[in-house]
Amino acid sequence: MDLSGINPVLLIASLMVAATPLLLAAIGELVVEKAGVLNLGVEGMMITGAISGFAVAVETGSPWLGFLAAAAGGALLSALFALLTQVALANHVASGLALTLFGLGLSALIGQSYGGQKPPAMAKIDLGPLTDLPVVGPILFGHDPILYLGIAIVAAVWALLKFTRLGLILRAVGENHEAAHALGYKVVRIRVLAILFGGACAGLGGAYISLIRVPQWTDGMTAGVGWIALALVVFASWKPWRVLAGAYLFGGVTVLQLNLQAAGIAIPVEYLSMSPYVITVIVLVILSRDKSSAPGSLGRIFHASS
């Protein structure tokens, strides 16, 4: 066993990469749930984003176009969910589960000819002397742009929900859709927009796995990250910065246990593999012991009665 092979700086830098898909998916779902919609289709939207991003990046040679396509793909699939739940008034839970199964199947179909290919790499940003700084450089200034975009989205969502009128209306719609309707707000329109945003974020998260983290295409490669994202939103008490902290914790333990496995530590591999899930859940359960505040209308079907 040799723990000296684990470099803390590289560990932190790689945990940020490991956490980004989860972060993107979870922040999108947070907005959706704040609007009162429970979309369990995150996994399906992620995998759809992963393959649409991968395919477009391979065909065009541009990772940027790939990410754009991933966001569009995720949003398109979520539009189906919006159609089912907001227009046809279908049950949120059943529609979300169906969306995941549909997304997994659809992505496998599109991805048939992409197995074993290598996507174009996205350049890491280079801030010259800043990136060359010891310790701080690799952690803060040596990543790809999408990772920063993820953090920026978290900050933007936090500010939107806290400081803007749009954020207030979104929270109001999620808290009590009948009252919001009585005051004359367009409940369905706001929810559809939130669902599309959530789909785009999940798509980006999926493409981050297939274009940067892994990078290649295999069936079902999101491997349950969408489900973790759903749990993360709940355990983070619907607070954006807690989502970030939870995602980094999960990413951190994931990377750490891989390093420990490589170092040959005398713990069975199965325990190490389950540790990210167990530790993240325990920490977030303890954090969310204060008044956990689910949006009042979460998952309830809205039907304007006039």
Binding site: A172, E175, N176, A180, A182, S293, S306
Partner: protein, 505 residues
């Protein structure tokens, strides 16, 4: 007053199977408090929704200050100076007062300015309110202040109030009236909807009475008796429940030293409760909603377990028992919320009769259901309590509020309870049905059962209860005989006015 502020002409709105409003015409003058009276289902709510732009009329016109007025949405109505305080508060529990108010405004100022304007307006009208408190933590009276201030900040010309006093203590009602009178003096018109005829006689200048979607008349409330107005609403003579003298028996139910936390997030814990009810007695428990009524019902029904000795039924400790065991012993309950708590909305009346009647009416046998007997029981309830429904196979949801309430109360009364606990037995029920329910409770007590009636309707408690106690923040006042109890004393028992001040007019 030559030109009315708002005049309605021939407004009609039909829903599948029912004409909610049929050719409604009347005027609301400037600076006038206009009462809109009618039973449940008379079409009051639909009418105000049309004025507020939530519902579009099928035909008819409205004229506001001489110009045609047809709001496409509430936003347009608000822009034209029409504001509305809803019956079921349209507030967001998890948001704070200022955020709630901002949501009801077209162009809210930044939060800090808004907070100071809220303070300013709330003090002018004697409705003190902290802009940064979470609405979920406020009392019903305070929540209503939020709604009223939300309206006042927009400087309305017409304020619509849908049953504003049903959740207030007498002192709070007094303060509300002072505020409304101040508004009237400033030239604001008020359209006031209420069941409470004495309030209307005190406050309103004119009244329009609706019955079955049509205007059946108007009157000057000050010059009309409450009884006459009630009979115009109902369309027939009114029967008042009769109390018959009865002897009290043994102590049927005894609660001592009961303290229990609320299972609900914004609920109220019960603190050191003591009460006894004797056979043949009706104990009325008043108080503003959210002061522990739900919890008290939960404790008595068995939904909230307590220490065994805290609740005793005829001397036997039942605190640890669940609802079914208590039912077997003769302690029955009818909770407040009809759809979802007292009855399962999508199940038929037969099934709903089975849900609470299975044990006492022997509707099950070794785990198998006796559908024939259950149906007969449901039919008996429908017949004896005059429940208007095509038959027991209809879903509970399809009944109107008053009819379902008669069914829910009848279901418990007919099981011949030793102790019956009801919460808000006539809430949202029209005058005739309410009288029938009260009479049933009185008859039950006359036959020797003990009845606990939790209600916010003080007139109701004064009418049927032998003793009265009030719940305030989870504490129960000392029960006192209702005879000779004055409104002021009741108000004090209910905890006064929750820190409200009278408007500095």
């Amino acid at each position: 007053m030559s030109q009315p502020l708002l005049s309605l002409k021939g407004l009609t709105k039909a829903y599948p199977g029912v004409i909610a409003n049929n050719d409604i015409s009347f005027d609301i003058g400037a600076g006038e408090v206009h009462a809109l009276l009618g039973e449940n289902g008379a079409g009051k709510s639909t009418l105000v929704k049309m004025i507020y732009g939530l519902v579009k009329p099928d035909s008819g016109t409205m004229t506001l200050r001489g110009d045609a007025y047809a709001p496409a949405e509430p936003r347009a109505a608000r822009a034209d100076g029409i504001a509305m305080v809803f019956q079921h508060f349209s507030l967001f529990d998890a948001l704070n007062v200022a955020e709630n108010i901002a949501l009801g405004m077209e162009n809210p100022p930044p939060m800090r300015d808004l907070a100071s304007r809220i303070r300013e307006v709330s003090e002018t009208y004697g409705l003190p309110l902290d802009p940064f408190r979470t609405v979920g933590d406020l009392s019903a009276g305070e929540r209503q202040r939020v709604e009223i201030i939300r309206c006042l900040l927009q400087d309305p010309k017409l304020l619509i109030m849908d049953e504003p006093t049903s959740v207030l203590t007498p002192q709070e009602v007094e303060i509300l009236f002072k505020t409304l009178e101040k508004l009237r003096a400033e030239g604001t018109s008020i359209l006031y909807i209420s069941h409470k005829l004495e309030e209307i006689r005190r406050l309103c200048d004119t009244a329009t009475i609706l019955r079955l979607g049509q205007v059946v008349g108007g009157c000057i409330p000050r010059e009309t008796t409450a009884r006459d107005m009630a009979e115009m609403m109902v369309g027939s003579a009114l029967k008042t429940p009769e109390r018959s003298g009865r002897a009290l028996g043994e102590v049927a139910l005894d609660i001592s030293g009961l303290s229990v936390a609320s299972p609900a997030e914004f609920g109220t814990a019960l603190k050191n409760l003591h009460l006894t009810v004797r056979q043949g007695e009706i104990l009325g428990i008043g108080g503003v909603a959210g002061n522990g009524q739900e919890e008290l019902l939960g404790v008595l029904s068995g939904e909230i377990p307590t220490e065994a000795e805290a609740v005793k039924l005829a001397g036997q400790p039942v605190g640890r028992m669940g609802p079914t065991e208590r039912r077997t012993l003769g302690l029955l309950t009818a909770p407040e919320e009809r759809l979802g708590h007292a009855a399962a909305p999508d199940m038929s009346l037969t099934e709903n009769a089975l849900l609470t009647g299975a044990v006492r009416e022997k509707l099950e046998h070794r785990g198998f259901l006796r559908w024939g007997a259950a149906r007969a029981f449901a039919e008996k309830i429908i017949a004896e309590f005059d429940v208007r429904t095509p038959g027991p196979e209809n879903a509970a949801r399809s009944l109107s509020g008053g009819n379902l309430q008669k069914f829910v109360i009848g279901r418990e009364v007919l099981q011949d309870p030793d102790v019956l606990v009801v919460n808000q037995p006539t809430w949202g029920v029209d005058a005739a049905a309410a009288a029938a329910i009260r009479q049933a409770l009185l008859d039950l007590a006359a036959n020797g059962a003990a009845v606990i009636c939790i209600s916010q309707d003080l007139d109701e408690l004064m009418e049927i209860a032998d003793r009265f106690a009030a719940l305030n923040e989870g504490r129960l006042s000392e029960p006192r005989p209702t005879e000779g109890l004055s409104v002021d004393e009741i108000g004090l028992m209910m905890g006064g006015a929750h820190g409200m001040e009278v408007a500095n007019v």
